[in-house]
Amino acid sequence: MAEQKVKTEDIVNEENKVFERTPLLTDNVFHYCPGCGHGVVHRLIMEVVEELDIQDKTIGIAPVGCSVLAYNYMDIDMQEAAHGRAPALATGIKRTMPDKYVFTYQGDGDLAAIGTAETIHACNRGENIAIIFINNGIYGMTGGQMAPTTLENMKSSTSPYGRNLKSMGNPLKMTELVAELPGTHYVTRQAVHKPANVRKTKKAIKKAFENQKLEKGTSLVEIVSNCNSGWKMTPNDSNKWLEENMLPFYPLGDIKVPEDK
């Protein structure tokens, strides 16, 4: 059979275009590991900012963790917080500029360990901000140590024989915890390991941004994600493991939905 030579131009043309990267993602190459969920979530947030046409009103806050350099990829004004302090920065910004859209982007170590107080009190005060919480059950940047969200028996470099609940404490469901607080308006848990989940996550992020106009409290979107490097798996295996192990403990869906509309 004669080999058909397909040229790039035959595929890449306007007619065949089904996806376009939002211009709000910069040209910088992601430093994230191939297969990691961060890139997808970055894109979703920037798509939401583009669709709502609020680039000039949006201020994002990057955490300490793998996404410490999020500001290299998002073409919006951003601040880099000390570890765990993003909700405090967001409070300072929002209180002095109430008409802006302010969001934090935080991992599980940042939000649920060192930043526990900042998270709970920002949510309890009902700061009109969006908190995007990436939960992959591990400290990715520092090389795979145990996180507050690490599952029972899950191995990490600081729980090499698996998380022992008796000596190491229990995985923390921060999202359920803040949903109990009167200050939160919208609390949901999503994932980005499958296209259908990606779509749902985008809707949730959009809602969290739109909620800021209502001035009814904090919106928190947890996104259960993989960490194939930290979990020491291939990207595909890590997504499978996520579904079989993370999701039973961190079930997806809305946890607190505003009653009105």
Partner: protein, 352 residues
């Protein structure tokens, strides 16, 4: 007016945009005064009692990063908690004003006035190579005035400024001349004056990023050098001090804040006894009046630093005098304020 109240009123009248704090003795009147005044109604200024000193200083970081004029206050143990935020603020080159109404330490220490946070204030306090601009008020009037001075310097140099006060000046009541209400800066003015601020990226400019992170060590060193240059410029241009009867003095007392007020009386008492003594009162502790001290070192017989600490500023005076004259220290600790008479005795014992 109490010193702690004067500082809050000064911030409102200066047109500050926000105050974020956490109660601690002996400065809780600052936040109490703010809350009673309802500044959101007077000027639109935001005030918030944070969940901790750590949260408060990080709220300052966020708002300062957006070009807002914001202030926090605390006392020694709380200021220790703020050090993380302060080093990030210095590293991100953000302007803000921080008040420390110092109490005796270490640890929980005492709630009585002290000057034992001098090292922490003038040498940096948190990790990394950085400096705060440090102003030392010695009256309630200066508590009021230094809010404006602090903000002006902080924004001029994009650097945190600290007002290093103490429990005595914070609690003391004196008459204060207060200024007119100034308007808060509009968003348009902020965008124009502080093009680095995160106010939302518009089409006509690149995005603004507030960060202290630099992973490339070559670039980081360049940034360190830039900071050092800035501090050198501050040392060159912003030294403030007061001289009291130094012209003909053979001996010089060096003291700031509450200690300097007592030393004024000491000068009076000692001169009655025929001791030709003067007082140099540093108003800025960083930048420190090094040149003035060196100059005095050429012509006087000795210095005595008077501090409510174990002897911290004395090290900087010795460095400035460079051995040209003896530099002695006298101080009280634990919240005890020395009397003018005991300082006269110390002068006689240590200098004459």
């Amino acid at each position: 007016m109490k010193g702690n109240e004067a500082i809050a009123e000064a911030a409102i009248r200066y047109g500050a945009d926000g105050y974020f704090g956490y109660p601690i003795t002996p400065q809780s009147e600052v936040i109490e005064y703010f809350m009673a005044q309802k500044p959101e109604e007077r000027t639109g200024m935001a005030v918030l009692q944070a969940e901790s000193e750590i949260a408060a200083i990080n709220m300052i970081y966020g708002a300062a990063g957006s070009g807002k004029r914001v202030m926090t206050s605390s006392s020694s143990p709380g200021i220790s908690l703020k050090q993380e935020g302060l080093t990030y603020i210095a590293g991100a080159e953000l302007p803000c004003v921080v008040l420390n109404v110092v109490r005796g330490g270490p640890g929980l220490g005492t709630i009585q006035p002290s000057q034992s946070d001098y090292f922490q204030a003038v040498k940096g306090g948190g990790h990394g190579d950085y400096r705060l601009i440090v102003l030392a008020p010695s009256s309630v009037q200066e508590m009021y005035d230094f809010v404006e001075t602090g903000f002006e310097l902080a924004f001029k140099y994009r650097n945190p400024a600290m007002i290093l006060s103490d429990g005595a000046i914070g609690q003391m009541m004196e008459k204060v001349e207060i200024g007119e209400q100034k308007p808060r800066m509009t968003e348009e003015e902020i965008k124009k004056n502080y093009p680095w601020a995160t106010t939302g990226k518009t089409k006509d400019r690149e995005k603004n990023v507030i960060t202290s992170l630099e992973l490339d060590s070559g670039k980081m060193e360049k940034f360190n050098q830039k900071l050092i240059k800035k501090y050198e410029e501050i040392e060159e241009k912003e030294v403030r001090f007061e001289e009291i009867q130094c012209e003909d003095a053979e001996y010089i007392l060096v003291a700031y804040g509450t200690s300097s007020r007592i030393c004024e009386k000491t000068v009076e008492l000692a001169r009655k006894e025929g001791i030709k003594i003067g007082l140099l009162r540093p108003i800025t502790l960083f930048p420190f009046p090094k040149k003035k001290l060196a100059e005095l070192g050429d012509r006087v017989k000795g210095f005595l630093t008077v501090e409510m600490s174990a002897g911290q500023m004395v090290e900087d005076v010795r460095l400035a005098v460079k051995g040209k004259a003896p530099v002695e220290y006298y101080g009280r600790m634990g919240g005890i304020v020395p009397s003018p008479e005991e300082i006269v005795d110390a002068v006689k014992q240590k200098l004459l």
